[in-house]
Symmetry: C2
């Protein structure tokens, strides 16, 4: 058995996406890599898990390949659960998810399949990071991203990440020399103003496409949105304890009965 770190790689764009190939390439320089990723795109899946359907796992790497790869029929969170419980023979030292084609900054962390995989690994006690590049284009250049992915993953392997915390990393869509560095941030207060594109079926029935416009309401200079707009890679520590601890006092003033 190798004494290099064991690194689990997954994503939400599917196992053939260029973003995961870039992530695998970096992780192969840092440890032994096992990939368990969805067999098809799973964007916007949030933290969905498969409760009412069967899961299928297919080994797609060949004997002698450097990296072991499985495609899975489930969601990103399913991939992490099955990887840790059925595929790997020891607990991974790190789980990385991405590189997502598109932003997962601010409120997008809630909808993100990329981050749900990382958060699932965090829940299982595995240090985990989700990486996203702001460019949606399938053919975007990941060279600058790879540099920052490596720096952040090396730090995570060396320093560890506290239990209950997962890193949400977003990388601006800029050339390498235009990126100013890395900023640790908080999640900006931002959301989507939905616009439903209403159309008619050939039979004359209404149907809808969900679209929307992203709106940042947060003027702080310590947010992920600020960092990304100003040429920095953003790193937000995320937690799955969703308790609004500050509001417990207030709720205890409510009158029941």
């Amino acid at each position: 058995m190798s004494n290099k770190p064991l690194i689990l790689v997954t994503n939400d764009d599917g196992i053939t996406a260029p973003g995961i190939l870039a992530l695998i390439e970096v992780m192969e320089t840092l440890g032994d890599v096992v990939v368990v990723a969805p067999d098809s795109p799973q964007s916007g899946m949030g933290h969905a898990i498969t409760l009412n359907a069967t899961l299928h796992l297919e080994k797609i790497s060949q004997k002698g390949d450097k990296t072991i790869k499985y495609s899975c029929s489930g969601t990103p969170a399913d991939c992490v659960k099955i990887a840790i419980n059925e595929v790997l023979d020891r607990r991974p030292d790190l789980c990385v998810s991405g590189i997502n084609h598109g932003s997962n900054s601010s409120i997008n962390v809630i909808y993100s399949g990329t981050m749900s995989a990382a958060i699932e690994a965090g829940i299982e006690g595995v240090p985990a990071i989700g990486f996203s590049n702001l460019n949606h284009n399938w053919n975007t250049n990941f060279e600058a991203s790879k540099k920052y992915v490596k720096q952040i993953a090396e730090n995570a392997l060396q320093n560890g990440i506290a239990e209950g915390v997962i890193l949400n990393v977003n990388i601006p869509d800029l050339k390498e020399d235009a990126i100013k560095g890395i900023k640790v941030c908080r999640q900006a207060k931002a959301n989507w103003k939905e616009k439903f594109d209403k159309r008619k079926t050939p039979q004359g029935k209404d149907y809808y496409w969900l679209t929307g416009e992203f709106t940042n309401y947060d003027k702080g200079t310590d947010t992920d949105e600020w960092a990304l707009s100003n040429g920095y890679v953003s790193v937000v520590p995320v937690q799955y304890d969703m308790t609004a601890h500050h509001y417990i006092q207030q709720l205890n003033t409510w009158q029941f009965e």
Copy 2:
């Protein structure tokens, strides 16, 4: 136009589930009710949204019905988005989701379609509550639940809920006189120990069902798990700012470059 509160009702078990019928019944005593709920069960959908498929909305109430009802082909979060942006002609005063058939306490908040609908309403600036009953049975008795649903919804309408906070309410599977009251709680540290049930298709290929055992590691007496095990209704204030603010200092000690 009525000057009663406008209440949006949704769920994740689908518009025909007994739990949502109980919830509608209570809300009809508190205001004008509009229901937009999934046309089929959506359990475990987390905060999924529909980005790569069309959405269909069907008005299923008849003219003259007390409550307007739409079924929607999307996820719970989609239902809330389309309700607020396409169905309702004014912002609702309250959004309630449930009553879920099964627990959404502690870590289950992350996987819960019920809570994702409530959280989506919270993101849109609407005071919101998710209700769940610990009994999974489709034919469970909701009489005791209805009493507590009403008390908590009345308080929310009267006191409001701070922006950024959503309530996660779980109701123990007990008869009315065995329930001791309501406790405001924090989310317990608990998770699922997965067990994959591995089977073979008729053609001899492996496939899996995701199952697991819920494990509570948290000895605190201020948690939702403690309250539920001790006969109380649990109310956890939940936030969608997922930043682990306490960890920002630590991450700023990492060495980049």
